[in-house]
Amino acid sequence: MTAVIQAVLNGTMMGSMYGLTALGLTLIFGVMKVVNFAHGSLLMVGMFAAYWLIKLTGMHPYFALFIVPPFLFFFGYFMQDLVIKPVFKAEQQVREPLTVIIVTTGVWYVLDNLALMLFGAEYRTVRTAISGTSFMLGEVIVSIPKFSGFVVAVATAVGLALFMKKTRTGKALQATSLDREAANLMGIDQYRIYNLAFGIGTAIAGIAGCVIIPFYYVYPSVGVVFDIRAFIIVVLGGLGSIKGAMLGGIIVGLIESVFSQYITSTWTEAIIYAIFLVILFVKPSGFFGHKQDW
């Protein structure tokens, strides 16, 4: 019994990391209707940024939360402005642009392999003040870095939801996601909104990078691990939905951790793909998605 509770707890905590990754992806998709294939790579950039900051300065990992996400915000902002926007403009008439997906794939290749050139292929971990620490909750062990990551993930999701609901910018983001022509007519600069959405989505990948680094290794293609899961999660939760991303993330984390008690982890991966396909066929709009998005 304890083993099951332990698995559920670990799955929830790891799942919140997947959810956090999916959050940025779902925001960008919600606003732009673009699946950003480079999202995992942006997470990798965030992880490496946090890694070097902590390694070189010895700062507390959560202090990096004030440095890495803002840096990644600008990274995403300008990436969208310089690389994605021109292609997007050319494809404006298409409801779901495919060339843009390909451009983001190109960005993925460039970022992953630049990291490979710069840092090599080895797996790196950095010892932080909280690495390997834990506390007991009854009979189960709770890892402190994972638990803190979970708290940050939930806080980020709540913060993003509030931002979308309460602020003018958030409302502009929502308006653009619902109807870009109408939003344009209301005086919202569509492309500035896209820059913002991309910037915020990337900044969230930066937050994820900072909280993952104390308990996970970083290597150039680490993004793929989270990327594939993030795709599955956003489809599961409904593309564009914030709570869908968090819930979907936790579900995928739970499936992984509970199943891996009984079968090998590679089979768990196959099960996740199978579930993904079933959802696509049965309810492609996911839990909280809009039918028309599909």
Partner: protein
């Protein structure tokens, strides 16, 4: 000389040169590079039947390469059936899987379709990686299959020199290019193009878009599987991650997009532009800078999408038109094409 004569003359010249090339190239390394160039051009042309003409973005074609390689290799290793026959069995199996994937997914929007094909392909790869055998068929899990060396034998699809492989893949490429050309001029080609651009409108005109997409998918996966057998016999060893991974699927799509999807010459131009670069950076730079060739690959992709979203073929075709008209002295046409 008329324009048509010039086109035919150049085509003939290209044919003579490509048939004569192995006579001029001594180094097996360079011949191997050429073989792989044609191999990728062949794969991309097969992909183009769906990804180009039908206007969707399949990103899981490596699964068909895998089905082809596994089927023919298992049949030959365990049952002594010639890979030439196994190749056709693998093709048929891949076509079946292609239709199974295509049937439910073709009604999806672009990004969902792309994600779905990835999930299918990765799902099948992970399964093969986890299975030591399916029934009586030994798969060997992640270790893959090794084809024992039996020496020069056409029946066993094994040759000690590279030349036969060169001519086989050249022949396959010519065949698939001819097939694509034939389809693009046929009713099916028009239906596919119409279904890709304006599915609703095509449907309203009575075109059964889904049916033609499925036929294209079946053909595409069949042809892709044949390349899987070729690869297995060329390398004599393959394993799931190397053969059926996302990398190959994406590379096929990249070559098509850089060359120009939906055009006949596109895959060939894309492969010509990318493969040599890929091979040479891999040979000469990968020791010092691993990953550099993929950085260049990604940068080229981004640049082409930014400045030539339709790929390199349309501007090259225009250039050729201008030159051809100048050579044939067709002043009127030259003026018109400007």
């Amino acid at each position: 000389m008329s324009r048509k004569q010039l086109d035919l003359a150049l085509l003939g010249l290209a044919a003579v040169v490509s048939f004569a090339l192995p006579l001029a190239i001594e180094s097996p390394t360079y011949l191997q590079i050429l073989i792989l160039l044609f191999f990728y051009a062949y794969l991309t042309t097969s992909w183009n039947l769906v990804g180009g003409f039908a206007g969707v973005l399949p990103l899981g074609h490596s699964v068909f390469v895998g089905i082809g390689a596994y089927t023919s290799t298992i049949l030959s290793l365990q049952y002594g059936i010639s890979p030439w026959i196994g190749m056709l069995v693998g093709g048929a199996l891949a076509a079946l899987v292609g239709v199974m994937i295509g049937k439910p997914t073709f009604r999806m929007r672009g990004a969902y379709f792309a994600l779905c094909t990835i999930a299918f392909a990765e799902g099948i790869r992970v399964m093969i990686e986890n299975l030591d055998a399916i029934g009586p068929f030994k798969l060997n899990g992640p270790r893959g299959l090794l084809i024992p060396l039996k020496g020069d034998s056409f029946w066993n699809y094994q040759f000690m020199h590279k030349e036969p492989y060169y001519y086989i893949i050249l022949f396959m490429l010519i065949l698939v290019l001819a097939l694509t050309w034939f389809i693009s001029k046929s009713r099916m080609g028009y239906y596919l193009a119409a279904g890709g651009d304006e599915p609703e409108a095509a449907q309203a005109l009575g075109v059964n878009v889904a049916r033609y997409k499925l036929i294209a998918m079946a053909m595409s996966s069949f042809l892709t599987a044949l390349a899987g057998t070729f690869y297995a016999q060329l390398m004599l060893y393959f394993y799931p991650k190397g053969l059926m991974g996302l990398d190959l699927s994406f590379e096929i799509a990249f070559i098509a997009l850089i060359g120009g999807r939906g055009t006949i010459a596109g895959p060939l131009i894309g492969a010509l532009a990318l493969r040599p670069l890929n091979e040479f950076t891999r040979i000469y730079l990968s020791d010092q800078l691993p990953g550099l060739h993929l950085v260049i690959f990604g940068l080229i992709l981004i640049m082409v999408m930014l400045f030539q979203p339709k790929g390199l073929t349309p501007p090259l075709a225009k250039l050729y038109d201008r030159l051809a008209n100048r050579i044939t002295g067709d002043k009127a046409a030259e003026g018109a094409s400007k």
